[in-house]
């Protein structure tokens, strides 16, 4: 049953050192506020799973929270590389980062298998690709009915999945819409799940077949308006492309990254104060 609580309490209770953590969001509804709270609470040795690690995973990796990354596409969308991810992979900074690399088709289906509590997912791909040579989690199996050779990947069952959504009601039922990515599957595959939302309302006023995650299938719901910033929340605010562009300069060097993460995340109390500090540094023309 979802407990409606603060972000600080939810992260303290649900995210532990060494956990397998999935923070999902396909460009849309990325749980930035929650990811930054994980940095603030200085979780370590996490295995981070995500189809499209972007800036929030770059921040977690640069802050030294992760020991392993399971992913299928890692970049700053529309801008370029993730410099902290690259520094960790290419030069072991700040700690070595093990990577386990997939494609979107197999990773998304690994969550489906995880939600269904099946041991693995089956897809038609990877014949001739080098990925299976470097990822021993991609194997080939033979269909018992047709004899066809297919690729198989083990189910993903995170210790905790974190997502952001538009609304919850007072019982903790969560409604999300727009580009849904793999959030529902990632939540249902996880042992614990927490959701940050834009607002908590009396009535979700949802239509039949809407994407609703029942409160009884979640561990915690936290009201964090703007919690997907600088990504977007459909119906609430648009993506702040300028932040993604500014991140390129901030993250390029270790020193500028360290200064930023200290002043914006580690030394701020919560997401509201992060937004205030960011607004001040932006207005002052400093690198954000």
């Amino acid at each position: 049953m979802a407990e409606i609580t603060t972000l600080r309490e939810a992260v303290a209770a649900l995210v532990r050192d060494g956990d397998i953590v999935a923070m999902e969001g396909f460009t849309h509804l990325i749980p930035f506020a929650a990811g930054q709270e994980v940095i603030r609470q200085q979780r370590k040795q996490l295995t981070l799973v995500r189809m499209t690690p972007d800036v929030i995973y770059d921040q977690l990796i640069g802050a030294g929270c992760a020991r392993k990354l399971v992913f299928s596409w890692g970049g700053n969308p529309g801008v370029g590389s993730l410099h902290r991810l690259r520094d960790a992979v290419e030069r072991d900074w700040p700690v070595p980062l093990e990577i386990q690399e997939h494609g979107h088709g197999d990773l998304s289906n690994a969550y489906v298998a995880g939600a269904a509590k099946l041991p693995f997912a089956v897809i038609r791909a990877y014949a001739g690709s080098d990925l299976p040579k470097h990822n021993d989690k991609i194997k080939f199996v033979q269909c018992p009915f047709t004899g066809e050779t297919l690729a198989a990947v083990p189910a993903i069952n995170p210790d905790v999945t974190i997502i952001h959504a538009q609304k919850a009601d007072r019982k903790g039922n969560v409604l999300l819409w727009g580009i849904l990515g793999v959030q529902k599957e990632a939540v249902l595959a996880a042992r614990r799940a927490m959701v940050t939302v834009e607002e908590i309302v009396d009535d979700l006023k949802a239509w039949p077949n809407a994407c609703i995650l029942p409160g009884w299938a979640l561990s915690a719901v936290c009201c964090v308006p703007g919690g997907a910033f600088p990504s977007y929340a459909h119906g609430y605010y648009e993506r702040d492309n300028r932040f993604y562009q500014a991140w390129d300069a901030v993250s390029r060097e270790r020193d500028s990254f360290r200064t930023w993460i200290r002043s914006h995340i580690l030394d701020t109390e919560d997401f509201v104060s992060f937004r205030r500090v960011l607004a001040e540094s932006t207005a002052a023309g400093l690198p954000q």
């Binding site: 499209t52 970049g75 290419e90 088709g105 001739g128 990925l131 990515g181």
Partner: protein, 263 residues
């Protein structure tokens, strides 16, 4: 070239757009493929169905998306489904006519690398990775690749085979049981290549206006073959050029305005 009223990048995008037939179901990567696919939609192919891997099917974005999951893709789509559904039912289910992809490196059989430059364990450059490309390269009925041509990108041997084209040539795809036909064209800023019908080696079919064979040879890391009847790419029409420029102008303005509004 400088005297021509269009750039090499514009010829590349326009040539790629021309390959997409009206009504085709097209699985689109972000960047150059997305620009070309939307240009096709706004010119000769109004009924083209654009699928983006984030979930929108039949997207008709008024401006070019910056990321693969921009809100305008969802707002203009016929339907938005989950990412696993896109890959399971629509791509693997055989409903995609053309996979439209970019790449960092390509070889003579149109296999592509989007993973690493250098050694996998200690790469000199870590690239973003596979995304949906391995599955698209396997399952789309056909694949069109679009990327800028240089000897660094068009290499004798890939550092990493992320997504397969024609493997080592001939009927290799068939032997491995890959359902789609694989790459049918590679469009660059210099030329258009297509696989030889038998060997599947990429062959230059068209040179873009004003481009010489020598330029293509210099920008290719293998001994590149030219078609016996080498053609010149038809010059961009006024409508193609104006539509592309207007689309890019509109996109720049929209993305700029959005960020300025939040300052």
């Amino acid at each position: 070239m400088s005297a021509r009223p269009y750039t090499t990048a514009e010829v590349m995008t326009i040539s790629a757009a021309r390959l997409l037939k009206n009504g085709a179901v097209c699985f689109v990567g972000i960047g150059l493929p997305s620009t070309a696919a939307n240009l096709a939609r706004l010119t000769h192919a109004p009924d083209i169905v654009l699928i983006y891997e984030s979930g929108p099917i039949g997207a008709k974005p008024p401006v070019l998306p910056l990321s693969i999951g921009d809100g305008n893709l969802a707002e203009t789509a016929d339907t938005v489904v989950s990412t696993p559904e896109i890959f399971r039912y629509w791509l693997q289910g055989g409903r995609v006519d053309v996979g439209f992809l970019g790449a960092a490196q390509i070889d003579r059989f149109a296999n592509i690398n989007t993973t690493v430059i250098g050694d996998y364990q200690k790469p000199s450059t870590r690239l973003p990775g596979a995304g949906g490309a391995p599955e698209i390269a396997s399952c789309a009925h056909e694949v069109v690749l679009v990327l800028k041509q240089s000897a660094r990108a068009f290499v004798e041997k890939l550092d990493f085979v992320t997504s397969v084209g024609h493997l080592d040539g001939g009927d290799a795809r068939k032997r491995l049981g890959l359902p789609g036909k694989g790459p049918v064209a590679v469009v660059t800023d210099l030329c258009m290549m297509a696989p030889d019908p038998i060997s599947k080696e990429l062959t230059v079919m068209q040179l873009h206006p004003g481009v010489s064979r020598e330029q293509v040879v210099k920008a290719t890391g293998w001994q590149v073959r030219f078609a016996e009847h080498l053609e010149e790419t038809p010059v961009p029409t006024v409508i193609e050029l104006e539509t592309l420029r207007e689309l890019e102008r509109r996109s720049k303005l929209a993305h700029g305005e959005r960020t300025a509004a939040q300052a």
